[in-house]
């Protein structure tokens, strides 16, 4: 696992890609050894806020030594991030978390499923899955993304790597309904699932995976303080006594954010 560091990163670009959703590229040596599904902690400059904001790594560009963050403005930290301009330096902590177990998809039909602001980490995941097969946009890699409406941020970019399906809450694009509705309706081939999104969606996916006999790996969210496994702030309930806590509490920031759905008590 890559050594974790806190260090300055340089903003390369920043643009708004949908209502309240921003897309920022950062130049950082952290880019050197990132697994898809890992995240970084971004520190606001505003000194009334001291904790890092966990943001998933959406894409990696090793050549430029850069990572891409796609984030929604929801509070003071993300509002500040949206003001950064190319050339600004910001502090980040990472790489954090375990990432998706790409190797578990080898030779299988794999589906990346994202919901809302859970979509971003699946882009690099889809890219790696596609790379692993050696094919360009292989048949065995599918993607199902759920959005509120037809803004479908990042959706087109996935098309380079996977067979894509969309679900929207308001039915304004793709299948009306949630990602499971789209899976069923579009009969998406599925042995292994990599998913990130809101808790109800993840619960639905776990149930769906059990139903169809697929393996699901889910990326969870929780309020974090340290991001490195020290504070025990960000736990999720596990079925078995986990290796670290001995009390069915895995740390999302270090034991996760990606968990085998079978291990979770959701």
């Amino acid at each position: 696992m890559a050594h974790k560091v806190k260090k300055a990163a340089k903003v390369l670009s920043q643009r708004q890609i949908a209502e309240g959703i921003f897309d920022m590229w950062l130049e950082t040596t952290i880019a050197g050894d990132v697994k898809p599904g890992q995240f970084v902690g971004v520190y606001p400059v505003n000194k009334s806020t001291l904790l890092p904001r966990p943001i998933s790594i959406c894409e990696v560009d090793k050549e430029r030594s850069a990572i891409r963050l796609v984030y929604r403005v929801v509070g003071s930290g993300t509002a500040e991030f949206a003001l950064y301009e190319p050339g600004d330096f910001i502090m980040i902590l990472g790489p954090l978390g375990n990432g998706f177990p790409i190797e578990k998809a080898a030779g299988k039909n794999v589906v990346v499923i994202g919901g809302g602001i859970g979509v971003p980490p699946l882009l690099e995941t889809a890219k790696r899955l596609s790379m692993e097969t050696g094919d360009n946009k292989p048949d065995s890699v599918s993607g199902v993304m759920g959005y509120r409406n037809s803004d479908g941020f990042l959706f087109d970019e996935f098309k380079e790597y996977a067979q894509m399906h969309m679900a929207t809450e308001d039915g304004s694009a793709g299948v009306k309904g949630n990602v499971i509705d789209a899976m069923r309706q579009d009969q998406v081939k599925c042995d292994v699932i990599f998913a990130c999104g809101p808790m109800p969606m993840l619960r639905g996916i776990k149930a769906y995976a059990e139903e169809i006999g697929a393996k699901a790996y889910l990326s969870l969210e929780e309020r974090m303080a340290c991001g490195v496994g020290a504070c025990l702030g960000c736990i999720t309930k596990t079925k078995e006594i986990d290796h670290h806590s001995k009390v069915h509490n895995a740390r999302i920031c270090t034991d996760g954010p990606v968990f085998d759905a079978d291990d979770l008590d959701m």
Partner: protein
């Protein structure tokens, strides 16, 4: 220049420790920090048996700090000894184990289990605001504090530090009770009980409703209490609460602390502890302070 300090016969290479619960058992921060540079690693609180802690959300941010209601989740003393103490044994730093419990017996069980382990001191947490039984109840009543301190002192092989709660009317009285009962040192402050409400969701930010406040926002209260406590007792005081840098650490030392601990600021900057060590050395060089002890309580 000498940064060594001695507490109850234990000599620390410098006065900088980690605050319990903010540094895991050192393992989690060893990516960032050379643990050999620290005066001591103070571990997360450990009980006789594993504790699951509180439901999430357990942490939330506040102006200049945070609230936590972890609820003393811990794997129990057995796993702790095998895994965490074994890990720490490889480092040239002192090890202070933070001990928690719901009853006096719980505490005693941990203290006895640790008797023959490689532990330099025990820090007795009677001040965690986030668990319903035990903990803070002992830290908010001077008779209860006296009672538990004397019972633990009677059983402990290692020197004991009583960790005091700031949620009291008189910290001096509590410090005196701990000293009278035989504590070898006191540490303070633990977190201050706070609350945050999300006005849009119309609910508490923490599942536990209240949480313990830490971070730079609490520093003035902590410095005041360290000053009051160190003037009330003759045993050494370990000061903490919002330390961000060497300037803050020296402020605590000038208020009367023999050693200091860095807590929540590890989350802001994982290198804080070592930066504090280095900053103290720089201050001493620049201002010609030979012995760190020379500036203790100097105001």
């Amino acid at each position: 220049m000498n940064t060594e300090v001695t507490i109850a016969g234990v000599t620390f290479k410098n006065p900088v420790m980690t605050a319990s619960g903010t540094f895991g058992s050192g393992m989690e921060y060893s990516d960032f920090v050379d643990l050999n540079r620290l005066g001591a690693v103070v571990t997360k609180g450990v009980a006789n048996v594993p504790w699951p802690g509180n439901p999430v959300p357990r942490v939330t941010e506040v102006y200049g700090g945070m609230l936590n209601a972890i609820g003393l989740q811990n794997p129990g003393v057995e796993v702790f000894v095998e895994r965490d103490l074994a890990f720490l044994a490889d480092y040239d730093t002192k090890v202070i184990v933070n001990v928690c419990g719901k009853s006096v017996e719980d505490y005693l069980e941990v203290v006895e289990r640790l008797s023959d382990e490689k532990v330099d001191m025990l820090e007795i947490n009677v001040s965690c605001p986030n668990v319903k039984e035990g903990a803070i109840a002992f830290g908010q009543n001077k008779d209860a504090l006296y009672d538990i301190t004397s019972k633990i002192k009677a059983k402990a092989k290692q020197p004991i530090i009583m960790k005091l709660s700031p949620n009291v009317t008189s910290i001096s009285e509590m410090a005196k009770a701990a000293e009278a009962a035989g504590a070898d040192a006191i540490s303070l402050i633990n977190t201050i009980t706070g609350m945050k409400i999300d006005i849009y969701k119309r609910q508490f930010a923490l599942a536990n409703k209240t949480g313990g406040m830490s971070g730079p926002a609490i520093k003035p209260v902590a410095v005041r209490m360290v000053y009051e406590a160190s003037h009330a007792v003759n045993i050494p005081v370990i000061g903490m609460g919002g330390i961000q840098n060497a300037v803050d650490a020296i402020e605590f030392i000038m208020a009367g602390a023999t050693a200091v601990a860095v807590g929540a600021m590890n989350f802001h900057d994982p290198y804080t502890t070592v930066k504090v060590v280095e900053g103290i050395e720089e201050y001493m060089t620049k201002y010609g302070v030979e012995e760190i002890n020379d500036i203790r309580g100097i105001v």
